[in-house]
Every structure is written in structure tokens, then in C-alpha cells.
């Protein structure tokens, strides 16, 4: 045994010596010299280092992940097949040349992102060719928001003002990224990678695209790739519902004797704040001002009350009302946290035991208060606005406003804050959790405290730029002081009994903000270290731990014991433990945990962390503090205490309750699962294919690359008949160089007539070559002069008389097509033999396929026209032949004059224009999907030509109807 160990050790040492020797020798001999000039990115001394230089990677972070809701999807995804990465050259958005002629990955500075997205939305061509988007946040814009003008949605408001702009950052120069679906994978680059990508894109811009280029390779496979909505993916088990935990604490605590059954009947004042924010990039959500400043302020106010009680003989038990401090999770997602809490309270859940809604009289929500600054002078009082809902049926909150103003002028005067009533011209309260409480109990007196009057002053609300750099902790402390004094008054406390120490509160607010707002120290802050053992992340390739707060709610994988800390986020545990400590009477009892050494009734275990050391265990305190799960009311979880057995399913248990209070439909937000290794982004230098092939050919060694390979590629070109993307042209060049060359024959242009915008009908006399044309859908290569050839589908039907004339529909886009479209009659071109198999309509004979659906977009009408006019389709012998013909508008519609003839031949033509405004914009797949008019897939044939996305979408739609894939015909 010992000898074996020694042998292994010796082998290990020998291996290490060899590897070390290898690396040193690389340095010592020519290899080090070769790599010398890479010194701008560090001297390369090992193979591993060279590999790292070759591939700049971003792993496990930065993706814009796919979310689903009840009606659709937002975010982005890569190729559904994990093994198929998306790979395309990197191009800076400023260098994009329209029209796009090749597939690219766009490096998108955030400043240009809004205009770019608006352009992308209206351009199927961009959607087709842009394979990925890399956001570069190096230079933030002056204003940016990923949510709309009425965050959360106007449907949740207790008033009807859907067009009111609360979020002024969502103006004309804004785009609702967080609720948008991107048809390509999207990543947010780290600052280092963004700087690197800028250099690479600049290099590419100076290079011929056919030479070596920097590429981006993206892996963003989503498990719910094929799910249309969250109900689908939850049923399929490919996603998890968004969710987290809200926390509430009672001051004074609920009497122990009341237990889970209830309380002592004191009216309740709710003090509410929200816990999380939103952005399209979940890993970068900040939410410093909205909503975390409010949360910090609320926690500081609780501390102020606790500190005052600790330093005096008074206690919260003397209050005539109970103050309940509540931090709500998931509010940006359809007010998920408050909705769930209210449903749990209505259904008698243990997590809300004692929180009797009938006792709730007043609600004060602390909104965005992080940007409060004194103005116009440095010693001017801070202006804090109190928003209330006016109108019949809503509680009168004037007494609350009066309490706040009295507190600000009285015991909290050192806060130097004025509390002002918000403008009466406002339609009502701003987007807030108070909306949920008013929906369930409109008589509640409610106020929202905020730094703004008629609209948000935060230019980065709902974005990753809402970070701690502009948050004023002193202002937050001032709000906390006023809030503490006000609720003290409202709860029946003696105003003079509350001692406000502003210096202490400022320190407390700053320490809390450091924990839950600032990336550094984050939850490594002393305050968190004193009460919990925070989770951390370790970035790939680095041993550095990060305790940065992540203020995206995340998903609920499972739900272990609700009142135990297991499975709770850092923020939820931080809030819970702070509340437990500051809502208690300050007496710390025995050591405890949440499982074996539980505290007695009426107590909670504060400050627990996983350790067998009693010193590190929690202590029992007299407090009432609870976690409340926050997730959609439309899902429930089976066997949810175990990670591996948890199974989410749909439920309608809350349906009746939702209808009772006229809740908008629960959006049922869910996040797709993704496999290990996702997300992954690589930036690397891609060798020119010509160089690689030439390197191989020079050696004279045949490889798997053969003529068939390139023929297969050529067929791609056949489909994209008018595409002259360099990649395709380059492959064609290789066809000429490798394998049998394509023989070009001289031919003459007979006529060239502009048929529609950018579309020309070009008739070419190809002579005897026309004999090779036998079936609609076939194509030819055509080149002008010594230019690169393009692939063009033949638009005229096969001519039984074989006069040698073929018609092509040329979209003046790309080198070959533009050259061809510019020729006059009599000009000479070179044409290849007729290529391709055409549409195999024999697979859908008329007797067995009464229904044939034809789909064409843009110049894709060309082979469809040939098919119809050839008569091979036998439309007159079929019951239902429909042509969905999509173009930009009437001016861009080719062969409009032929439509009556097609109709006469038995083809019902449904024209679809994509250039309509608003709801007028349609796509063929959408029109077909809206009214398929099919009663199953039996006897249905489909013929496709056009935009890739259209083809894919139609394939999915007809597959869903049961149409056999073999009955879906393409001309390649």
C-alpha cells in the first residue's frame, strides 16, 4: 500500500515537473518570442495563459434570462440546444451598415440602446441578422429606466389614469427593456469585458469581413425555450415561479397567549417598504433609491423606537395601537408580495397569524427617499411628500399627515425635514404597495412618503443604474426620524417620551445602506456579521467572495420550513433579524436554533447562524417577526420542503378571493431553468475560413471538408435566395476552389423592370440552361462581371416551350443583387446551371391534401409565384389553398398585379403588411396563428419561403396543429 502511495506520489511529482518544465521551456525557447508581442495583454508564458488570452470569457452572470408570465415571455434566450452556441462577428452598433448583409453580434452602448431597440422592433432584417446583443454600460445615459411610465401597471391603481407618467425616466428616450422580448441572446458586459469588446469591435470595423474577425460566442440555452407562457412551463417543469419572502414584525409583539390564533385586539398601523427592484439584467439589479432607501428608512425608524425605549423607562407595550413593520418582496412583479400576503392573511395562514386585516387602520408606506437633498440652500429643510388617495370610500389620512408634520416640527425637528401634502392634481397615490391594501380595504387611511411630488425624480428608477452612488443616507435618516416620531404619536405614545438622536440615526442608516445597497461591503458589513451568516458568491476563476446584495427577487426552488432561515435570501434574513432584535424588549434569553432548541411561545430565535458553538447560536427574544412567502397566488407547491421533490403546479385556490377584490389577472411570473454552464459568453479571434482551408489544402490532405459540405452550405444560400452575405459568398468561392467548380455561362438581360420598392423583375436569356428548370423553387447563381455570385430563385414558371427566358425577382440588397438590379436590357451576366430540387409538391398530392398553406415574405414570393403559375400545385383541385403573403407595405409588394390571376387559379391570397402603426403591424405567422382555420393536421400541406423567423414560427404553428414535418416544403 505504502509503495503504491509512493509510486503515485512520484508520478505526480514527475508530472508536475514535466508540466513546469514545459512551461519554462516554452518561455525559454522560441515560443516565448512568438508571444512577445502579446505583451499588451500580458506576457504569455504558459499554454493556459495563451488560452485565456485567446478566449475572454464571462461565465455564470450577465445574461438577460427568459421570464414568462401568463400571457407571454420577456428577456432573451440562446439556442435551445445547449450544445449549439450562437457565434457571430462582433460589430459596434455605430458601425452597423444597413442593410445588414451578414450575421453579427452587436456591441451596444447603453446610450444608443433605446434608439437601437426601436429600430430593431421595426426591422425583420435586423432581427434576422443580429445574432446577439452585448450591452456596454461604460457610459450611462443621463436618464434610463427599463420599466414604463406607470411602473407596476396602471391596472393596479385605485384610480383610472393609465397614461399618467409617474416614472419620468420613461419618457421619449426610454424603452421598457424589462418587459421586452429579444429575439436573440442578450448579455450585459462587465466593465472590463466591455472595454475589451470595444477594442475588438474597432478592430473588426477596420478589417475586411472575410478576414479574421473577433467573434462573440454565446451560450444562453433556456429550458423553457418552447414554452409560450408560464402556465406551460410550470406544467412542463421547465421553469420556477418568481418568489421570495416578505418579513413583518409587530411592535409591541403579539402576546404569547394569543399564539397563532390572533392578537389582543389592538388596531394596527402598518409601516411598509418594498425589498426588491427590477432590470432586464437580473444579476445587476440595484434598486438603491427605489425601493431600498425606503426599506433602510423603515428599519432605521424601528431602530429609533427601539433605541428610545432602551434608553428610557417606557416601552412599546404602552401603545394603544400596534405598529407592524413590513418589508414586502416581489412588488415589481404585479405586486406579488402584498397580494400574496393579503391572500395568506385572508386564508388564515400561520405566517400572517395575528395580522388581522380588520384591525389595520392606517398604512404608511416609505417609498423612494434616497435622493432627498436640501435645496435651494444647504441648510434648507428636506421636502418629504405625503401622497394619499382622495375620494369617496378611501380613508381620510389627514390625521396621519398631521402627525407627520407635528413630528417633523416637534421631537424630530433635528431631522430638518418638512412633510408636505402631495399635489392635489396628482391622480392619486404613486405606484406602491398601498394600492394592494386599499384594494382589499379601501377604508384604510394610507400615505406614501416619498421624495417626489408629481413624478419620480430618480432618473434611473427601475434600472441597474439606480445604485448607491447618489443615495443620501442622512436624508434617509431624517425620514426615519420623522417616521418614527409620527408612528409613535399615531400608536398612542407620548411624544416627549421619544428621544431622537439624529447622529445615531445617521450612522445607523449609513450602516444599513452599506449592507443592503452598496456592493462593497454588502452583507459582509459589520451589522450583518453581527446577526447572521450571509451567503456569498464566488466568481468563476477567482477565489474572491462577493457579498454584494442582489436585489432581484429570484425564484422559489422549494420552500423549506417557512419560519426558519433556510432558503431565505440574505436581505430577507437581514431584515428578519434586525426586526427581531429591534422589535424586542432587548432582553436576550437562552441560546437557540430553529429546529431542536426552539424558543418558547411568543419568542423568536434572533441572530442564529449555523454553528454548534453556543456563542454563535441565536438568542431567544420576546418578539413577533415572521416570514411570509411571496409568490404568485396561481401556483402551489407539492412536497415543497425538499429541494428534490418540490413540484410546482397551477391552482385556482385564490381565484374567488381575487375576483372578490377585482384584482387584475395574476401575471404568474416565472423564470426559465437553464442547464449548468449557462450563461457563457466568449470573445475570441476567429480565423478567416479561407486561411484555415488554405492551410489544410496546402498540405494536400483530404479531410471531411468536401464538395458535399459546401454544397450543403450552398443550399443555405439557396433558401436565402437574395442574400449575398459575405459568408455565403465566401463559401461559394471555396466551391470554386475546392471540389467541382461551378461553371458559369454567359447570358443576357432581356428586361429589367422595377416592380416595387427595391424589387426588380429581371428577365435573363439563359439559353439552353433553361432546360434544367423543371420545378418551381429551383434557383440559379448569377454574377455580374467578376463580382461575387448571388443565389436567385426563379420567379417564372418552367416553360414547356423552353424559350430560354427566366425571370428573377431581385431585391437590390447585397453586392450581386445590387449589381444585377442596376443592369439595363442587353447587359451580359454569367449564370450557373439551374440548381436545387424545388418544392417537392409530389409529397402533398391534391387528392390527399385538400388544404395547402403557402407562406411567403418579401422577395420570398418569387419561387412561390413560380410554383403557383407552374400548375404543379393543382390549386383548382384542392378545397383550401391559401397564400399568406407578407410585405412591408403595398409599395414593397412585388407581383401585386399577379394576385388576381393567382386568385383565379384557386389560391386565396391573404396580404399582410408589417409596416402598420401600433396594432396594424402584422406578420404572416401572427395572422395565420390568429385564425388558422384548420381542423387538425391531416391532409394539410405547407410551402414556405422567406424570413427565417417566419419559417420557424410557421413550422411551430403547423406542427402544433399536427401537420407532419414531411408535409412542410421548402425549396432547399
Amino acid at each position: 500500500m505504502a509503495s503504491a502511495v509512493h509510486s503515485n506520489l512520484a508520478a505526480h511529482v514527475l508530472l508536475r515537473v514535466w508540466l513546469f518544465g514545459l512551461s519554462v521551456h516554452l518561455l525559454a525557447t522560441s515560443q516565448a518570442v512568438q508571444c512577445k508581442s502579446l505583451e499588451d495583454i500580458g506576457l504569455v508564458t504558459t499554454v493556459k495563459a495563451l488560452s485565456e488570452v485567446m478566449y475572454r470569457e464571462m461565465k455564470q452572470t450577465g445574461g438577460c434570462y427568459k421570464l414568462l408570465n401568463a400571457t407571454g415571455q420577456v428577456g432573451s434566450q440562446g439556442d435551445p440546444d445547449y450544445n449549439l452556441d450562437i457565434d457571430a462577428p462582433l460589430v459596434h452598433a455605430s458601425d452597423l451598415q444597413q442593410p445588414l448583409q451578414r450575421d453579427v453580434t452587436v456591441l451596444l452602448p447603453v446610450k444608443q440602446s433605446v434608439a437601437f431597440m426601436q429600430q430593431l422592433q421595426g426591422s425583420p432584417e435586423m432581427q434576422q441578422h443580429i445574432m446577439g446583443l452585448l450591452f456596454d454600460d461604460t457610459e450611462p445615459p443621463a436618464s434610463y429606466s427599463t420599466v414604463g411610465p406607470f411602473p407596476g401597471g396602471p391596472e393596479y391603481a385605485p384610480y383610472n389614469a393609465p397614461s399618467y407618467v409617474w416614472n419620468k425616466a420613461a419618457g421619449a428616450n426610454s424603452y421598457p427593456f424589462a418587459s421586452s422580448w429579444f429575439p436573440m441572446p442578450v448579455f450585459l458586459l462587465t466593465p472590463e469585458l466591455a472595454a475589451d469588446a470595444q477594442q475588438r469591435a474597432a478592430y473588426n470595423a477596420k478589417q475586411d469581413p472575410t478576414r479574421k474577425q473577433y467573434h462573440a460566442r454565446m451560450k444562453l440555452a433556456m429550458a423553457a425555450a418552447t414554452s409560450a407562457n408560464s402556465a406551460d412551463c410550470i406544467s412542463q417543469g421547465t421553469c420556477k415561479p418568481l418568489g421570495g419572502y416578505s418579513v413583518w414584525a409587530a411592535l409591541p409583539p403579539l402576546p404569547a397567549a394569543a399564539g397563532a390564533a390572533g392578537d389582543d385586539g389592538r388596531p394596527i398601523i402598518l409601516v411598509v417598504a418594498q425589498m426588491d427592484s427590477i432590470d432586464m439584467f437580473h444579476d445587476s439589479v440595484q434598486g438603491a433609491d427605489g425601493p431600498l432607501s425606503g426599506l433602510v428608512s423603515m428599519l432605521t425608524a424601528l431602530h429609533a423606537l427601539h433605541s428610545s425605549f432602551t434608553n428610557s423607562s417606557s416601552s412599546s407595550s404602552s401603545y394603544s395601537k400596534r405598529i407592524v413593520f413590513m418589508a414586502l418582496a416581489g412588488e415589481p412583479w404585479g405586486y406579488m408580495g402584498s397580494r400574496r400576503l393579503l391572500w395568506e392573511a385572508a386564508s388564515g395562514s400561520n405566517s400572517t397569524a395575528g395580522l388581522n386585516m380588520s384591525l389595520v387602520e392606517q398604512v404608511i408606506e416609505v417609498g423612494q427617499v434616497g435622493r432627498l437633498t436640501a435645496s435651494p440652500a444647504a441648510d434648507a429643510p428636506l421636502k418629504l411628500y405625503a401622497h394619499s388617495q382622495q375620494g369617496l370610500g378611501f380613508g381620510n389620512s389627514s390625521s396621519m399627515l398631521a402627525a407627520l408634520q407635528a413630528a417633523a416640527q416637534g421631537e424630530a425637528s433635528s431631522a430638518k425635514a418638512d412633510v408636505l401634502a402631495a399635489s392635489p392634481s396628482n391622480p392619486g397615490i404613486p405606484p406602491s404597495s398601498l394600492m394592494s391594501f386599499l384594494r382589499v380595504k379601501s377604508s384604510i387611511q394610507g400615505l406614501v412618503l416619498a421624495e417626489f411630488d408629481d413624478g419620480f425624480i430618480n432618473p434611473y428608477f427601475g434600472s441597474r443604474f439606480d445604485n448607491g452612488s447618489t443615495v443620501n443616507a442622512d436624508g434617509i435618516a431624517s425620514v426615519a426620524a420623522v417616521l418614527a416620531a409620527a408612528v409613535h404619536r399615531l400608536a398612542g405614545g407620548e411624544p416627549a417620551a421619544l428621544k431622537v438622536n439624529m447622529t445615531e440615526l445617521q450612522q445607523v442608516a449609513a450602516s444599513y445602506a452599506a449592507c443592503i445597497i452598496m456592493p462593497t461591503p454588502g452583507f459582509a458589513c459589520p451589522t450583518a456579521a453581527a446577526i447572521m451568516a450571509p451567503d456569498y458568491t464566488v466568481s468563476t476563476g477567482s477565489a474572491t467572495r462577493s457579498y454584494a446584495p442582489r436585489n432581484y427577487i429570484g425564484v422559489l426552488q422549494y420552500m423549506p420550513e417557512v419560519q426558519a432561515p433556510l432558503g431565505k435570501s440574505n436581505l430577507a434574513r437581514f431584515v428578519w433579524n434586525l426586526m427581531a432584535s429591534d422589535s424586542s424588549d432587548g432582553a436576550f434569553g437562552q441560546a437557540c436554533d430553529h429546529w431542536k432548541r426552539r424558543c418558547q411561545e411568543g419568542q423568536v430565535c434572533a441572530g442564529w447562524r449555523s454553528s454548534s458553538d453556543e456563542e454563535l447560536m441565536g438568542r431567544c427574544v420576546n418578539a413577533t417577526v415572521r416570514y411570509v412567502p411571496s409568490y404568485s397566488t396561481r401556483v402551489s407547491c407539492e412536497s415543497c420542503s425538499d429541494y428534490y421533490t418540490a413540484k410546482w403546479q397551477l391552482t385556482d385556490a385564490a381565484e374567488q378571493w381575487s375576483q372578490q377584490y377585482s384584482w387584475p389577472d395574476d401575471p404568474l411570473w416565472a423564470e426559465s431553468d437553464w442547464p449548468v454552464g449557462v450563461p457563457d459568453l466568449q470573445l475570441y479571434l476567429h480565423e478567416a475560413e479561407a486561411v484555415e482551408v488554405a492551410l489544410l489544402i496546402w498540405q494536400g490532405h483530404p479531410t471531411g471538408i468536401n464538395q458535399n459540405h459546401y454544397n450543403a452550405d450552398s443550399k443555405i444560400g439557396q433558401h436565402a435566395q437574395l442574400r449575398t452575405a459575405p459568408a455565403i459568398q465566401q463559401r461559394c468561392c471555396f466551391c470554386c476552389c475546392w471540389g467541382d467548380p461551378v461553371e458559369f455561362t454567359a447570358a443576357k438581360v432581356v428586361s429589367n423592370v422595377k416592380d416595387a420598392e427595391m424589387l426588380h423583375r429581371v428577365v435573363v436569356d439563359v439559353g439552353d440552361l433553361a432546360a434544367g428548370y423543371s420545378k418551381g423553387g429551383q434557383f440559379m447563381q448569377i454574377k455580374v462581371g467578376e463580382g461575387k455570385p448571388g443565389f436567385f430563385a426563379i420567379a417564372s414558371p418552367p416553360d414547356p416551350n423552353n424559350q430560354g427566358l427566366l425571370e428573377f425577382l431581385i431585391k437590390a440588397q447585397g453586392e450581386a443583387a445590387q449589381a444585377l438590379a442596376g443592369l439595363d436590357a442587353g447587359a451580359e451576366v454569367a449564370v450557373s446551371p439551374v440548381m436545387g430540387k424545388g418544392f417537392s409538391v409530389e409529397a402533398i398530392p391534391a387528392d390527399a391534401h385538400p388544404t395547402v398553406l403557402l407562406f411567403a415574405t418579401g422577395s420570398g414570393i418569387s419561387p412561390i409565384k413560380a410554383l403557383i403559375e407552374s400548375g404543379d400545385l393543382q390549386a383548382d383541385k384542392r378545397a383550401d389553398v391559401r397564400l399568406y403573403y407578407g410585405t412591408r407595405d403595398a409599395a414593397h409588394t412585388a407581383y401585386a398585379d399577379r394576385i388576381p390571376a393567382w386568385e383565379a387559379a384557386g389560391v386565396k391570397v391573404i396580404q399582410v403588411f408589417s409596416n402598420g402603426d401600433g396594432e396594424g403591424a402584422k406578420y404572416v405567422q401572427g395572422v395565420f396563428g390568429g385564425a388558422k382555420g384548420l381542423s387538425g393536421g391531416e391532409g394539410v400541406g405547407v410551402v414556405l419561403c422567406g424570413h427565417k423567423d417566419m419559417c420557424n414560427a410557421v413550422k411551430e404553428l403547423v406542427a402544433a396543429e399536427g401537420v407532419d414535418a414531411g408535409k412542410v416544403l421548402l425549396n432547399f
Binding site: 518544465g21 521551456h25 518561455l27 525559454a28 525557447t29 522560441s30 508581442s37 495563451l50 476567429h686 498540405q699
Partner: protein
């Protein structure tokens, strides 16, 4: 295209070496074994070199620093070549004795074959270190260019450098061992000078755009050295017996340089009657049907369990 790049570089950098091995070395089992042994020996030498350099890395990224490192590495390797010479000399002595006792001659061509085996092992280890270690990276999607060499990727540079350097090292082994055998100190100086020259040529990559000339020069140097070694074989391979190492040549089965001399580096004489020890062994396996009397004698001697050489010395023939 990853496979294209991988095989392209593989065939460029290693392909010729493999072809040379299959065509020239593989038919001679003893040379094959000697090549493996040589590779192991040079592996140890390079590891020793690495260990010496351990105290000096990282080097300043300057030409003089790298020139010094390269010359030091060359010096160590050339010193190690003295060890090769000692082993080569001893092997010649033993083999000549065995040949003599079995009634065969040990020709100059045989001697050069052994030198070739030593050189092939030397080159193989170098190719492994400076190119083989990089080859897996060519199977990925990316490539790497240094800013001073936009003409070729570092992999292409490494492949071409290893090709040129490999050819030089094989040839220089033949040149050096042959020169040492003749005690031609001028000839013996050729190898270290060329070796140092080949190593220093890579410094051309320090100059912007210099890699093209450096790589071309490296390949040209490889060709020159190969030509020189081939010319030595051409001129001296025809000698009927070895004059090196002091071993006595008891009997020459065939005294004529004839066709064997005209076909350096191992081609069998058309009549199968070479007096060469290796050719005789090859004739036993692959050319046994030939008619010459001496050839038959040689075959009979080698296949005889009593008089033949140890099985390890037998060639697998054609």
C-alpha cells in the same frame, strides 16, 4: 472550422515529421527504438534546462534577455550532445562487433542511420515542446495573433518554426555525429552554430512584421541543414564499412559502394545484395528472395538462432 484548423496545423507542423518517420525510420526497428530512447534522453535534457531556467523567469521582455536564454538553452543541449556522442560511439562499437561476429559488415550508412535516430528523437521532443503543446488550442474556435505578426497566427508560426527547427535538429545530429567520428572539429562546430542560429532566428518575431522573414529563414535553414546532411550521406554512405568508434570490421560481405552508396538514407539496393548490416536485416524480412550469394549468407546468418543478432536488432522489413 475547428477541425480544419487543427488538422491544417497538425499536418503542417507534424505531418512531414510523421511522413519521414514512416518512410525512413519505421522500416528499421532498431532506429525506431533508438529514436524513442533519444526522445527520452532529450526530454530529460530539456527538463534539466527548464530547471536551470527556474531561477531566471520571468525574463525581461527584451531581445537580449531572450537571446541569452536561447543561447544558454542551446549551450546546454550541445553539451548534452556530447553525451549522445558517447552513447553513439559505444553503440557503434557494440554493433560493429556483433556484425563482425555474425559475418556482416557495419557500413557508414548504418552509422548515419543511427545518427538519424538520435536526431529524430531530439527533434520530436522539440516539436512536442514548442508546437505539440499548443496544438490542442487549435481545436477550439479561436486563434491568436501577436500584434507584431499580423501575417500568421501564433499557431502557424509555431508549426512552421517546429517544422524548420525539427528538420535542422535531425540533420544536425547526422552532421555532428559524423563530424565527431571523423574528429573534424570544424564539422563538429557546425551543429552548435546552426542550432544557435535557428534558435536566434525566432527573435525576428520581436520586430513588427519580422515573423515572416524569421519563419522563412527558419524553414530555409532547415532545408540547408537537411541538404548538408543528405550530402554527407550521399558522399559517405557508400563507404563499405564504418571507420568510427574503433570497432574492427572483421569482414565485408560486399565491398562495393555501388547502388547502396547511390541511395543514401536507407534505400535497399535493387539486387538485395547490400553488404550493409541493416540492409541485410531488411533483406531477411522483405527482400529474402533476392539472389546474391552474400545476401543469402547474410539472411541465413541473421535468421539463425545460433549466429544471428538478437531479435531486437532485426528490422521488420518492408
Amino acid at each position: 472550422m475547428a477541425a480544419t484548423a487543427f488538422f491544417g496545423h497538425f499536418f503542417l507542423g507534424i505531418g512531414p515529421g510523421i511522413a519521414f518517420f514512416l518512410a525512413v525510420i519505421a522500416p528499421k526497428s532498431f532506429v525506431v527504438l533508438l529514436s524513442f530512447f533519444s526522445a527520452f534522453y532529450w526530454l530529460l535534457v530539456l527538463l534539466l534546462t527548464s530547471a536551470v531556467f527556474r531561477g531566471f523567469v520571468p525574463l525581461p521582455s527584451t531581445q537580449p534577455a531572450y537571446a541569452g536564454a536561447l543561447l544558454a538553452a542551446v549551450a546546454i543541449e550541445e553539451a548534452a550532445r556530447a553525451g549522445v556522442w558517447q552513447m553513439h560511439k559505444r553503440a557503434l562499437s557494440v554493433l560493429q562487433g556483433m556484425s563482425a561476429s555474425s559475418g556482416h559488415s557495419f557500413t557508414k550508412l548504418d552509422e548515419l542511420y543511427l545518427a538519424l535516430g538520435w536526431g529524430y528523437g531530439h527533434a520530436a521532443v522539440h516539436v512536442l515542446f514548442i508546437f505539440g503543446s499548443l496544438l490542442p488550442l487549435t481545436a477550439g474556435h479561436g486563434t491568436a495573433y501577436s500584434t507584431d505578426c499580423p501575417q500568421m497566427s501564433v499557431f502557424t508560426v509555431a508549426a512552421l518554426n517546429s517544422l524548420g527547427l525539427g528538420a535542422s535538429l535531425v540533420a544536425l545530429s547526422v552532421v555532428a555525429l559524423e563530424a565527431w567520428g571523423r574528429k573534424s572539429w570544424l564539422g563538429a562546430a557546425y551543429a552548435p552554430l546552426m542550432h544557435a542560429g535557428a534558435a536566434l532566428l525566432t527573435l525576428g518575431s520581436f520586430r513588427p512584421g519580422g515573423c515572416t522573414a524569421a519563419v522563412a529563414a527558419q524553414l530555409a535553414l532547415g532545408l540547408v541543414n537537411t541538404w548538408y546532411a543528405a550530402s554527407i550521406a550521399w558522399k559517405q554512405g557508400g563507404s563499405s564499412s564504418s571507420s568510427t568508434g574503433g570497432g574492427s570490421t572483421a569482414r565485408h560481405s560486399h565491398s562495393s559502394g555501388g547502388s547502396a552508396g547511390a541511395q543514401p538514407l536507407g534505400a535497399l539496393p535493387a539486387d538485395g545484395s547490400s553488404g550493409s548490416w541493416m540492409a541485410a536485416a531488411a533483406a531477411d524480412d522483405g527482400g529474402g528472395s533476392s539472389g546474391g550469394g552474400a545476401g543469402r549468407e547474410a539472411s541465413a546468418a541473421i535468421v539463425s538462432p545460433r549466429a544471428g543478432p538478437p531479435p531486437s536488432l532485426r528490422s521488420r522489413g518492408a
